[in-house]
Amino acid sequence: MNCDILLTGIGLLSPLGGKESFFRALGEGAEAPCRTAGNASLPPGGLTELLGIKSPKLQLARYLDPLAKNAIVALEEAMGDAGIAPQAVAQDPYSFGILLAATRGPGATRDRAYEQLRARQGKLLSSTLFSNFGYNVAAATAAMAHGIKGPNLTVAGRSNLSLLLLRRARQLLATGRAHTVFTGFSESLANGEAARPVPEWSCIFCLERAERARQRGAGAGALLTEIELESPELAQPRPCAPALRLPRALPQPLSLAVLAEAETLELDLGDPLGIGPEYLPLLQAGRIKATERLREETGYVAFPVSARHGLALLGVAPA
């Protein structure tokens, strides 16, 4: 399956702000606000309100689950970052696809529905809330908001889900099922009100077939070539050379020392560069060639910053 794929845009919505604010805060060692039983500063589903985002696309329906709101905004940003105008999607809607990960689905809507059901003595469940129960609600609503009619998939997987997503997006692109795929996460781990106080995140990458990106004059982004996702025994006989070249325009160059301090950050599922811990030994042993290629071609290196909740965060810094 040979096909060069370019990363041409990123959209990010996090408790630390958008893409620029996130990377800045990462460098400054800022802590993400976290919803807990005693801290309502980040109410469930309140990220767009907290960040003061008022996109007209959010008026799509009377009720939108927070996952859907965040995905709509992040996808809009990824499209803008990639220089893809809404008219381009409207002209060829089936060539654009969406592939999102959602491991726990719209927990805030479920919580709200249960609350309402209890208030109604178990007699009636709101049809509006029930309509938003689907794990695919973020991808489906984002497709409606942006008129994207190509493949629309939502998946959940093991701790290597980030790489798995890139691989599945690559499959859609390389097999010609779409020329552009918006892929990433929209997650909110609310479940049982105070049981799991994890904030919301949405991060969406715009991946394009290289020839399509060049044809429309998009700037050179990261190049995604091969990703191996197997047990080490099976990977042995084959070259293990995932090459993930990171973006052309990293916000502010961050020093290695500053990034190293970021180990205390409350970063979790949904972080944009999270990979499974099983890949850390490969990275540390230099078997993931991305770091070398990255150094040569962009002057940046990627390295593990922290591993929490079964996921690892890759940091980026000047070589």
């Binding site: 089936y94 059901l117 049809s127 689907g134 409606m144 190509g150 499959q171 099922r177």
Partner: protein, 413 residues
Amino acid sequence: MGEASGRGVCLPRVLVTGLGSVSALGENTAQLWDGLLAGRSGIKPLANFRREHLRNVLAGEIRLSAAQREYAERHRLDSRIALFARLAIDEALTDAGWTLVYLQKKKVGLVLGTSLGMSLVEKSIDQLDECAGEQVETYDDFAGLVEELAEAYRVSGEALVVTTACAAGTNAIGIAKDMIRHEGYEVVLCGGVDTLDRMKYLGHSALNTLTPTLIRPFTPERDGTLFGEGAGILVLERESLAQELPTYAACAGAGYSCDAHHITGPDPSGAGAVKVMGQALGDAGIRPQDVGHINLHGSGTPLNDAMEYAAIRELFGSAAERIPVSSIKPAIGHVMGAAGALEAVATVLSLRDQRVPPTLNVAAPDPELPLNLVCGEARMAAIEHALSNSFGFGGCNGSVVFSRVNAEPWTDL
């Protein structure tokens, strides 16, 4: 033998070598298929959760047998969804002649579809009422589910759950096929699994998607659907691996599209459905006139059946009135995320036996939707290629094409 793609590249063929199922018609695939061909219905009054305030108390519910409960205990399974998935996977692997010792030496993947799974209730085998207390965690962790299954079957490659509502099972099969055809996988276990619970029935009661009577697809009286539960699993293999073994069919093509129209309703024009069926046929390298049978989504809701008819008419033209079509939902219920998988099992068996099961509860098809709907009793048909459709909430569409192993792909090269 590989398949010629449009780019002239020889790609490996993907064969179906094993089937497994658990449904309201029985504990295995033989019971499902016998029941479908005989025109039996697995729809019965709900017994696993309270019936008050529901629009209909009928469903394609599974009453666990002593053997199924013993299996759950032996394997220490504490969720109904994992139980169904494992029963069906075990059957499919045995059917395909795989033991775990040999399987783990291959490059194996796992792709399962589900809609809401058990995300609205607590993790259990059969406590399926809503969680009455506050701050109760429901079993919403699909990553945990797929991890559990991947470990049980020692899956060395990717393991993922596809959650595209009622198109999930079909989409899972499409992804699995592409993993073998394009990514070097040797075996992929794929299909779908889903469970019933009171929250889903309350929700569909509120939405009026539940019929107050029975599912009557493509009839003038159609007024909604009934739901079911279970699992359908296919073992897909690279042809070079399967060549010494008996096979059911080739998994020849798949398509995906999105209506981008409404969160629960289909696009009445059927444009997304036309696209997804056309894509699946193109992927299989066949023309509309080569299709000998369509296993319909056929959910029996007024909007969905009208949309599916419009799409079939648009793509197949006058051939739409010739191709034998059928819906198995009246027999087992709409199994949501597993519907496409169980329907794929039925489609593969239609190819093998050259027989199309009847659509139950249909006295006379709707003259406004003139299709060659098989009803009354099973019908013999010459089928070289068959199509199975799924259309889900959120406008997610999926189609998959199965072909007889010796069928010749059409090509204009």
